[in-house]
Symmetry: D2
Subunit: 136 residues, 4 copies
């Protein structure tokens, strides 16, 4: 991923570039993993048990896409609370999707991988949230 190189060459002096780039990468990864998990679930035989999983996969992908997009533009003076709201909402979706995928992890390898990726994304979003609340 080339995001870290991008953030370092930004004309504004961005703070927290390391944790920021990890958050963007984690959200992009989580989006793709959730879309992939929803499609793998659609191919499973006991599909009817995976409907909630598919819906949460698609929700989580949508929120992660918005989050990656928004935190990339996090240098808006006076709008820190918006970024915090987005991160908090993203963490809630990632955790809910991780919990649901976890329920199917012993049956489906793709749910096991997706559960870990969502949990990791929630943690990385939380790291950025903590950084933003500390003095730079």
């Amino acid at each position: 991923m080339s995001v870290i190189a991008m953030l370092r060459s930004h004309p504004d002096q961005l703070s927290h570039t390391d944790v920021l780039s990890r958050c963007i990468d984690a959200c992009a990864d989580c989006q793709e993993t959730c879309i992939s998990c929803s499609d793998a679930c659609l191919g499973e035989r006991e599909l009817s048990r995976l409907v909630t999983c598919i819906r949460l996969n698609l929700d989580c992908a949508a929120v992660c896409n918005a989050t990656a997009n928004i935190v990339t533009r996090s240098n808006k003076a006076g709008h820190r609370q918006l970024i915090e709201a987005q991160l908090t909402t993203c963490i809630a979706f990632c955790r809910a999707c991780a919990r649901e995928c976890e329920r199917h992890a012993s049956m489906h390898k793709h749910c096991e991988v997706c559960a870990k990726t969502c949990a990791q994304c929630a943690e990385t979003c939380n790291d950025l949230l903590s950084s933003m609340r500390m003095p730079a």
Copy 2:
């Protein structure tokens, strides 16, 4: 928009279909209006004064896209809090974008239209939030 016809033919018995379809339509409208406003701002001469406006336009478009997507799948038993978190975050972005566009409304007609569309979207999201908190 054909969303109301879709919600009424959903196999699950969805509640709040009227306010739900208005919210989805408002979010879709707000997304397109914000993208259009960001592009109109890029064509203005005093572009440098509109940088925050463009950034908030793009953020608001990203959040509204996720919200429309997520509330369309609002029939997930036990996940009402996720929808509420998404709606609350969306309202915050719509209001911030409306306030910023309002500052340029006397100069730029597109910012005036966008401010109204964002404020309307925030109100419609709030209506859905209120409906969800009341007994169906």
Copy 3:
């Protein structure tokens, strides 16, 4: 939808604003309808017959979202071929999704509505494509 008011207040003199705004609205409508159809399909009993429909719904929603976004920025001198490529691809996805939904239209009202919305979107994209190829 407020898109037509936005296009008319754009500082660049946009051509084809009527057909352009209809195309943006049709893509936004098609995106929301396809997401709604995919979720309604997930709630149906004979879900396993609707897997291809769900996948095409999600694909069509993704392409329509990109198309609405891109044609809103269609005023890029020298890049007409890019817009034409995007519209052509979008038409192909809308027609494929319409055909698949049509197969289930007699069973599921949501597929009937979605088939019409996709076909309408393909037609509107085609109108814009024709306009762009004619002298303004």
Copy 4:
């Protein structure tokens, strides 16, 4: 990125999983890089020279997002032509964005990185296109 692990655990036997996962990762990377480049451009002093670059960045991000989404669901029998159309359109946008960023690469490091990332994404999409046209 965990996409390769996801594709390998998909219940359908996917072909080309290596080139497919590289394409998904390249599109996700290109999307984030383009959004980051558009925001960095917005912070530059000679912003007015970068308007076309910003517009192409945003277009390229939108197309790459759709492409990553769609090729993840590439296992739709009988719909190979749709994937090929999406990849072809994506390559056109990535190349146009790479060319525009290249023009500013000596002035702005973020445009230099973005030009390379877009060119790389075009190449990776082209690899997948070639794979799909060969017997599996």
